[in-house]
Amino acid sequence: MPAEPLLQIRDLSVAFRTERGLVRAVEGVSLDVEAGRVLGLVGESGSGKTQTLLSILGLILDPNAVLSGSVRLDGEELVGMPHRRLRRIRGARAAMIFQDPMTALTPVHTVGWQIVEQIRAHSSLSKRAARDKAVALLAECGIPDPARVVERYPHELSGGMRQRVVIAMAVSCEPRLIVADEPTTALDVTVQAQILALLDRLRRDHGTGIVFVTHDLGVVSEIADTVAVMYAGRIVESGPVQALFAAPRHPYTHGLFNSIPPLRGPRPARLTGIPGLPPSRGAPEAGCAFAPRCAYAFAPCAARPPLVPEGGSRVACFLPRETKQGFRRAGEIAA
């Protein structure tokens, strides 16, 4: 029996009790992340990717949320773990990086203070030692003149610098797992590349597993080893990044790639999109959630397709294998 992966999510579901009944944000999601590997979680807004991420660390604080399934970190079950124990895991063994570095740091303390606090919350280092470590961390995260930056307040730093500080805080206790919620979305492209390089180096040097949420397929191709594509709260396709990018097998994934305008050749008059809108998330749909927007929908789509292995990936679609192999990427993207 193979060793259990660093992070093992099984049949995770998140729903919210609302006035209009139960709204299902995440349904039956299963994922594995190995140490030193990066999982890219892709999907459009509202597909449940952020909720999946938050539920890993038990960060869905809405009292109306209903969580079921299993999240195991190093074999330890996190779902239903008491807050007190969960708190010792957060930041120490699993850390989160937020989307917007502008708001993820408290404005009233210096960044050094914030990193020192974080270190001392999870270790018994002295203030002096924690401070030295903070400087070293900032240096490791590519911040020039870290000894001066620790004295700075967040508003005195640029977005890219702040995201480095946030990452420095996240890695300060050498977590086994980092979950990152669109950490590069708020940054411009050059800074984005630097941050991606930084994350990649951290996982190589420390063997950290990373779950990386984004809607940017270009970013996924840069950093991820495996990809999971989410639609309407479910995973529709997952697999190694090369296989999935070379030959998407789900019509939705195919649609996503088709929506990327080609880098070379004439610019299309209109950008290709996927017609229709994602379903509203009330009562569970009986069949495939993507069927109403799918050009290939046929009779079997009235039932829900299971996520089955196919050519190295796993796909949730009833289409015959030949049809799916016919999907090719319309335009080459950055990679």
Binding site: I89, T103, L157, Q194, A197, R204
Partner: protein, 354 residues
């Protein structure tokens, strides 16, 4: 996979030390407090107001000195038959009235000289100028202490409501609603009547007629809902901010989030309320004292002196006018300072309250 990624250290390390993100190399790092103080110091109006307030406070602090060295009379003892020598002639402090029916007395008018009875006497022959200074002490003390009391309660309630939510929020809010349901002066008058009649002892604090704790407690309590509500709202919005979420995600325990993240972030918003609340309390204190339910005679406050001067409005208007002007000046300065403080902490807020 990794070969496509840029050399991780190449770009950032190449950045020269004068990274624009770090601002000028010379300028010292400054937190929100230092930044606000620097902005406030540039606000000329606010600095003038602050200077005037300091002068008023200093003058009031020097009240005993003035009473013994300049006015030379006891400002708390009646002086019905006294005489005072002005310009070499002895004059009675209280002269029989010469107007109307000739009833009552007319106290000596202001001499406008730096000496006894500079602002004249009240109807009991007491030096108005000296009483003004002693009254100012009480007025400022009560306004200040009541502000402190209000803030302690309001910040505690607002933070607890916003932090815990749920039942705590519900219960505390209903308590505030009860307080809020009373018009301020009605509540203040009701409280004072009960407290004057019954008294109340809480530890070292003895609230009874004649004690300064009485107006302090009353004024301190009545404004709590008005301050607690906005603080609760701001706490709620802070709780939704990402740095609180980040703190939770990094495993910071709740009490630490409360003390280290919430409290320091709410304090600038609390400070902004201080001058406004001081001004409001000043006026409330004067009003209550004027209605005889604040500072009790023979003690003085600006409000009680206005009340003393009420009966002399035709013959010696200065007795009511002087403390009235003192209240107006102080409140004006507090409001100007308050505007300045608010601008200093949030320069982007362009809304002005007329």
């Amino acid at each position: 996979m990794t070969d496509r990624i840029l050399d991780p250290l190449a770009l950032p390390a190449a950045a020269p030390p004068q990274d624009p993100a770090l601002g000028g190399a010379k300028e010292a790092s400054s937190g929100p407090w230092a930044t606000a103080w620097r902005r406030l110091r540039r606000d000329r109006g606010a600095m003038v107001a602050l200077a005037v307030l300091c002068l008023v406070a200093l003058a009031c602090a020097a009240a005993p000195l003035y009473a013994s060295a300049v006015s030379g009379t006891n400002p708390f003892a009646t002086n019905l038959n006294g005489e005072v020598t002005i310009d070499g002639t002895a004059q009675p402090v209280l002269a029989p009235s010469t107007t109307g029916l000739g009833l009552g007395v007319t106290p000596i008018g202001p001499t406008w000289a730096f000496g006894p009875y500079m602002l004249g006497a009240d109807n009991q022959g007491r030096d108005v100028a000296a009483r003004m200074l002693y009254g100012g002490r009480n007025s400022l003390l009560i306004a200040g202490a009541a502000t402190l009391l209000t803030l302690v309660f309001a910040v505690a309630i607002g933070l607890l409501c916003g932090f815990f939510g749920g039942i705590v929020d519900g219960v505390l809010n209903r308590v505030l609603d009860v307080l809020w349901a009373f018009p301020i002066y009605l509540l203040a008058i009701s409280l004072s009547i009960v407290l004057i009649a019954e008294g109340l002892t809480i530890g070292p604090i003895d609230i009874r007629a004649g004690s300064l704790w009485l107006p302090i407690a009353i004024i301190g309590v009545v404004y709590v809902p008005y301050v607690a509500r906005p603080i609760r709202g701001q706490t709620l919005s802070l709780m939704r901010s990402e740095f609180i979420a980040a703190a939770i995600a990094l495993g910071v325990p709740p009490w630490r989030i409360f003390v280290k993240d919430l409290l320091p972030n709410i304090m600038p918003r609390v400070i902004v309320l201080v001058p406004i609340l001081l001004a409001l309390n000043m006026i409330t204190e004067s009003s209550l004292s004027f209605l005889s339910i604040g500072v009790q005679p023979p003690d003085a406050s600006w409000g009680t002196i206005i009340q003393d001067g009420q009966g002399l409005l035709y013959s010696r208007p200065i007795v009511a006018l002087a403390p009235g002007l003192a209240v107006a000046l102080t409140v004006l300065c507090l409001n100007i300072l308050g505007d300045g403080v608010r601008d200093a902490f949030d320069p982007r807020a362009k809304v002005r309250i007329a």
